[in-house]
Amino acid sequence: MLAAFQQNSNRIKGFVHPAPPIKDMVMAKIHEELQSDVSAYLDNELAPDRQARVEAHLDSCNECSDMLTAFQENRARIKGLEHPAPLSIQTAVMAQIREQAAKTTVEEPSRTLRFPDLGRWIPDVGRWFLRPVTAGATGFLTLVLILGALYFYPTAPQYEETLDFYFGIHTEQLTDTPFDESLSSIPQDDALESDGDANLFLDLYLENVGN
């Protein structure tokens, strides 16, 4: 048994593997992370605690401190590209603007006499309707209005004549006598007939079910 235990112990020891350089890997990760902040450190855009950590790292890491120096030098080089703007920019632009403004002033009275700011207002309205949300909302409102009209208007008394006329034309197609006086009696007859049917149905129901 002892021999077996020793054998198993040796087998377990065989699993032992030299540890990877975890410390180096962690330090490399930290270095990489802090290095990515060198730029923000230069711009003083880090939180105070982070700024302090990067500063401490820069004291101990040549690679990062060299990078910071290079960034500072390159900043000065780019800054050296700055050049005063030529005065001719202002002169040329203002000349053109004044010319345009003068033209507009001459055209202004005839254009704004009856419709003030119409020229400015119309394109704005056009743009407003071209927006997807606005266009969708307008379409939806239009649909609601149409459906509302269809729902409410047939019951409105002012449209009853229109409806009568409409049904009259359909009746014309069926009877060829749309405006015949005799047609006005049809609803009354129908009403009587339907009353008779109801009574007949009630009688039959009472005969068969009531008993």
């Binding site: 990515s36 711009d43 855009e45 920019i89 632009v93 603007i97």
Partner: protein, 206 residues
């Protein structure tokens, strides 16, 4: 930190904020006057921003005459479209976008004008526009030329962010507003851009 120092710091900070707010309020007033057609207000805006606009254009294009043309064109566009500005962003942000579009249009036009395939270097997204005129040669020192060449080899995104930060010294917040990205993205892109420029300049013997 003593109470006296703290009070002094707070006072300075408060003054800075007030100045900035005053500037923004003045700027808003100027823009509103421009929207009503006040030419003098436009003149004040041009004086205020011409150096900024010209140097951004120069940083991106690398050519004085082109930068001047773009600056003029940008200010005329501002005048023509000022009615569309709705104060949803800073005026400078809106102006920068106009300048940027004009610059990249200019670059596209120059690239299209080059009909000889041998002249077009596809490995570079940006083709230097310099044609070494005598005036430019006089204006530019060798070092400036080297920096421009190095910038020209960077990606558009990198060159743009370097111009905004190094040349115009804009804070990250404003850069993020201009570029329409997060502060984190600004930080990482700027770091990558600086690394790329460092790499390009290391190839040059100073």
């Amino acid at each position: 930190m003593s109470i006296g120092t703290l009070a002094a710091t707070m006072e300075t900070y408060s003054e800075t904020i007030q100045t900035e707010e005053l500037d923004l309020a003045q700027e808003r007033e100027l823009v509103q006057r421009c929207q009503k057609g006040d030419v003098d207000a436009m003149g004040t805006l041009i004086i205020r921003y011409q150096h900024w606009v010209y140097n951004i254009a120069y940083g991106i294009l690398g050519h004085h005459q082109d930068a001047q043309d773009v600056a003029q064109d940008a200010f005329l566009s501002v005048w023509e479209n000022i009615g569309k500005f709705e104060f949803r962003s800073r005026f400078s942000t809106w102006l920068y976008r106009i300048v940027k579009n004009k610059c990249f249009n200019q670059i596209d036009q120059h690239q299209r004008r080059k009909t000889d395939p041998m002249e077009i270097d596809d490995s570079q997204p940006w083709v230097p526009l310099d044609t070494a005129t005598p005036e430019d040669a006089a204006l530019r020192s060798e070092e400036k030329d080297i920096v421009h060449r190095a910038l020209s080899k960077l990606k558009d995104d990198y060159r743009e962010i370097l111009v905004l930060r190094e040349l115009r010294e804009l804070p990250y917040e404003e850069i993020s507003e201009i570029l329409g990205c997060t502060l984190g993205r600004v930080k990482s892109r700027l770091h990558e851009a600086r690394k790329a420029l460092k790499k390009e300049l290391e190839r040059v013997e100073w």
